[in-house]
Homo-oligomer: 682 residues x 2
């Protein structure tokens, strides 16, 4: 297995090709002249039309390909448009008054050069203790301003988080500066500088670095790691047709866009010959990283990494043997540059399999007859760099029908300066002399466009609770009764629910129209998520207003086309008044989500109280959750995975005759050639 079909006609879910982007750009340029391209991206097909096509792809015309366009015209005017690619025409064009679209990598690159020559910035650098001749050693991460009530949203602004980097190879985040220039992208100049009341001059403490030179100086790399080689001499077990992947009964389309990065559409599972839909679309749709230091202007540090910068735009070009090991398939990503040229990110997505330990095992204690079957997992991965941080996002597919989003946080802490002996007041940690890493959260919004055995689904909240009947009562004499209390979330208002660790709360996405024939419970996928901190910025706070999606662990909406991004379509410089995106879509809370085409929005993540271990580069911290089939199959769906070893009682009695021994012959004893091992289990 394993081939790449040549598909000249794009699948309706395919991202825009280079040619399609070029067409859209040229159509827009022709009509509107010299604009800067912010977004040229597939408008995903309307669901009704797409479902019709998916049902009969051979006889239904494919949905028309449209490009979503966002441009910034001279004077900073923002336009949203829609281009019919085949038709070569603009079908929508709207001036977005007071909206600021996503910040592109090119915009991130610009500001650093501006600050180095700005007299007021130079003045502040000198006050901090940097010589005017050292301005080439001053750097900044030029975030969007987020929101600042003094500046509003009519002007496109970036805040420059400032650092001093004595040598070009030094860690960007060791020498933070205490002031914050504000850059006007329209004017192309610094318009203001936020200067804190308490000044914190540059502290030139001893350098700490993770570069090879620094490690060599500190004693060199460790030499006691022996290689581990992972190979698939017979090839991989997955098959790609265009961007549709098939693996172990799974089939789905792998998309990618500037904003969410990887998007998976039309996820189905072949259940003994019946192709059963599970999710129409699955992605990380947004995230917010609020920082917990109340001192002005740190409240502006609450990056919406997807909505403000884009997990696609920031994605890394991955490499063989570095980001994954084994047999890897890569997919590139194509985006427009600001001028309308093509920026290709090679190897934006990597796809590979991994051995995953024991899939199932059982031994009969009577005779030691045993079955042990190893698991395999499929990983669709991207890594994106959000200035200081790295997010390695893995979408893990398991053979048993489980989907596991699995994120590793690494990269570098966002840092601020601290005086010798200064109290952090608990809002941060001095992770190194002079380096204050503020408390922060990483809150992700997982968007689950449910399609569990069909589009009409219902979400139930499930809590494991004791029986109400007291100990000693006839109904619960010994007090051991407990059960899963299920609460239907019938309206958008009811769906706003929080995590409860005490009841091991889960949420079941059910198709109540189809009961499991044995359990008589609705077929379902269960959201099992345990890293679910609440949004710590308070109700009514700036972050609370802007990141409405993060107020609850779960929201459910009735599906509507274009409701994709839960902090709003254009996130930079939203005030949160009103809260854009999900809070709007929740409406007055009365809309029915009972047996409807629904979308579940799940907020999960971590609260990070930094420690010196995280500096100057952070060992990866994992976050994960599971989407598990429950009452979906009629039995264990992986019994037909070939076992490594299987013996039955009758085979044991027969002295081993008929036993399956498919033990991997590449595994070896660590220290000898057989003295300590045995063939298997017998």
């Amino acid at each position: 297995m394993g081939s790449l079909a040549d598909t000249s006609v794009p699948h309706p879910f395919d991202p825009l090709s280079i040619e399609e982007i070029q067409t859209a750009v040229s159509v827009v340029k022709k009509a509107h002249g010299d604009v800067r391209f912010n977004v040229v991206s597939l408008l995903e097909p309307r669901k009704a039309e797409m479902q019709a096509w998916l049902e009969k792809p051979d006889t239904t015309p494919p949905p028309t390909r449209f490009a979503n366009i966002v441009v910034i015209a001279p004077g900073g005017k923002v336009y949203d448009g829609l281009v019919d690619i085949k038709g070569g025409k603009i079908v929508e064009w709207e001036h977005m008054e007071g909206m600021q679209p996503i910040i592109t990598m090119e915009e991130l690159q610009v500001v650093e050069h501006k600050i180095r020559t700005d007299p007021r910035v130079i003045e502040q650098c000198v006050i901090s203790g940097i010589s005017e001749s050292d301005m080439d050693k001053v750097y900044c991460d030029p975030w969007t301003i987020g929101y600042d009530e003094r500046h509003g949203s009519l002007v496109r602004l970036q805040q420059a988080l400032m650092y001093y980097r004595p040598h070009i190879d030094d860690c960007q985040y060791q020498y933070p500066l205490d002031f914050c220039p504000i850059y006007d992208a329209g004017k192309g100049e610094i318009i203001d500088i936020d200067i804190p009341k308490i000044r914190r001059p540059l502290r030139l403490e001893e350098k700490i670095n993770y570069t090879a030179a620094a490690v060599e100086k500190a004693g060199g790399y460790r030499t006691d790691l022996k290689p581990i080689n992972i190979t698939q001499p017979e090839g991989v077990s997955f098959k790609l047709t265009g961007r549709e992947i098939e693996w172990q009964n799974w089939k789905f389309h792998i998309g990618f866009n500037y904003r969410e990065g990887i998007v998976m559409n039309n996820i189905t599972f072949n259940d003994k010959g019946t192709v059963r839909p599970i999710f129409y679309r699955l992605s990380l749709a947004e995230m917010v990283v609020p920082y917990g230091n109340p001192e002005h202007p740190h409240q502006r540090k609450h990056a919406f990494d997807l909505g403000e910068y884009g997990a696609g735009y920031m994605t890394n070009s991955l490499s063989l043997g570095c980001d994954c090991k084994g047999s890897i398939h890569y997919i590139d990503a194509h985006f427009p540059t600001r001028s309308g040229a093509i920026n290709t990110i090679k190897n934006a997505i990597c796809i590979h399999e991994e051995d995953d330990g024991i899939l199932f095992k059982h031994t009969d204690f009577r005779d030691e007859s045993t079955i042990v079957t190893r698991a395999r997992k499929l990983i669709i991965q991207q890594v994106f760099t959000a200035a200081n941080y790295e997010y390695a996002v893995q979408w893990v597919f398991h053979q048993d029908g489980t989907i596991q989003p699995d994120i590793r946080l690494t990269g570098i802490l966002q840092t601020y300066s601290i005086l010798e002996g200064e109290d952090t007041h608990g809002w941060g940690t001095q992770v190194y002399p002079g380096v204050n890493a503020h408390n922060h959260q990483h809150l992700f919004s997982l968007r689950i466009d449910a399609n569990v055995d069909g589009p009409k689904n219902t979400v139930f909240m499930a809590d494991a609770v004791p029986s109400d009947a007291p100990v000693g009562s006839p109904e619960n004499y010994y007090g051991n009764a407990f059960y899963a209390k299920r609460t239907k979330l019938a309206t958008t208002g009811e769906s706003k629910t929080d995590y409860n660790g005490a009841t091991s709360r889960t949420w079941d996405i059910c198709n109540t129209n189809k009961l499991n024939p044995y359990s008589k419970k609705p077929v379902s996928y269960k959201l099992v998520s345990r890293e679910v901190p609440g949004l710590l910025p308070k109700e009514g706070s700036l972050v609370w207003k802007r990141a409405g999606f993060a107020r609850h662990a779960v929201h459910v909406t009735k599906y509507k086309d274009d409701q994709l991004f839960p902090a709003g379509q254009h996130v930079p410089q939203t005030s949160g008044e009103p809260s854009r995106g999900l809070p709007e879509w929740m409406g007055d809370g009365t809309e029915s989500i009972d047996n409807e085409d629904i979308v579940l929005w799940h907020t999960f993540g971590v609260t990070h109280i930094p420690a010196p271990e995280d500096f100057p580069v952070m060992p990866a911290e994992p976050i994960t959750l599971l989407l598990r089939p429950r009452n979906f199959f009629t039995s264990n769906p992986v019994m037909d995975v070939p076992p490594s070893y299987a013996s039955t009682p009758s085979q044991v009695l027969a002295g081993g005759k008929g036993v399956i021994d498919a033990t991997d012959k590449f595994s070896k004893l660590a220290f000898s050639n057989g003295a300590n091992g045995k063939s298997c289990c017998a």
Copy 2:
């Protein structure tokens, strides 16, 4: 690296050798004649004596080797004893009135033969619909009775959970019978049968099996999985000296006993030349599996798998390429048989390394200079079979100082019969026609004998909470302030704490005598555990009384020798009045645990509401938690792990000169020989 030193003198933590067991047995036999051996196991050295030896092993005499002995004498009398092995003498011998020691595998094997010939059992089988001539097809899992108030603890009893197995190779748990014989181990006979009010005759529904024959009949094994080979051609990166392992700055002793299975002692981390103690001892010390069906006699189903059966006694003999892949080292376990002979479990423990994805990564968005370093993990594993269930227990050591207990639950659900159309009342799920799998929990007790930079430690509870100051107040104007609220657990009473998912609660094991020089916070290990259901059997219930350890997520005690097993030394047939073990050790709650030698007991696990997917054999369900160094190191401790790829800005400027490219050359593109790949990141 990688050698096995020949060590003829046992390390004081080593389990008893075959010779030592034989010596102890012969000493006991000589003194007490024909007894049945229940336990012959190392009495671990007294801590004070052991610490003295660990400090100066060359000049301090090693602690005396003692064997803990438990025997059952004729008449069912239970004796606990202590044998001085070198001295060849019994130094303690005590009759344990009203105590029942652990059930051994040999005891589990006996009962099935008894039930098949017992007239009353045969009568019930016939009532269930089984022909008298088919009694060889009747099986039972003969659990300890747990506790039954009608029978007390003076007589050694087992409850026979009954099944019909039409063919010897059929799944043990598909055809449950509705009655429950009670076996008196002293008399060697069935003394009673619990017969439910509602009878549920055998339902001979269509067979469901996971055997090769059954899979072949259903269409055969899938053929689309290509092999993944994992090899370490240069050997492994760990080194063993006796049972002491060294790997990536870690060093510890790997013990094993009948009860807990794997025990790790004297866990230290070499921090740039300073060997720093972390845990004196780490193990799973107990577990309880309460079932949630209140119907009599299901309240008796709440197995203490460790205290009643033993994770050592039940451990599997592991095999190359089945239970792990790669280069594996195995360690055997030796136990006494009831008669005093030796039962060796080959390959009871397996040790191996695995690649673990990205350890850390950072890219500078300015120039795409990148460092990416891959992680390695060390896994110490055992798998044990508790009648129907399998537990794969992995102790995972990470390079960054994290220890991750990682458990996979697999095997087969414990099942009971259900009538056609019968209501489960929510206490269970019909996972297959006629098969009711009752709700249950798996609650583990992780025993952490803390030694974080020395024996005097203090536990703090940490909750991530918003500032108290309201939005708009000067202290929290924008409402974004949040911090980690730390609560000292100063006494045993204060230490009884529960999980709080809303605050992402963690517990910090601190050495308050030693502050991190940068953060000024005490050096610590943080318990990050998210699978922490409460004990669902109610306060005052039988399980609540017997499994006192499971009432809270955390208890902390002051260390005392021999306080190892939190449900008590002898668990079978305890009434819970008083609650043995941990509740006793907590005392009146006033004992100081502030800056003392302490033990933290952590209850974690899952609540399992079964589904048809779990039957007839369960795809592995994972549970995990982390013990993470926080404020322990002064910086990221893995910067000296060789990167796969590292380029600095100056190297990028110099066209790549000096870049480290140690990319694994065994990784390949999935579908071609280079067209789609690139060397790395450049």
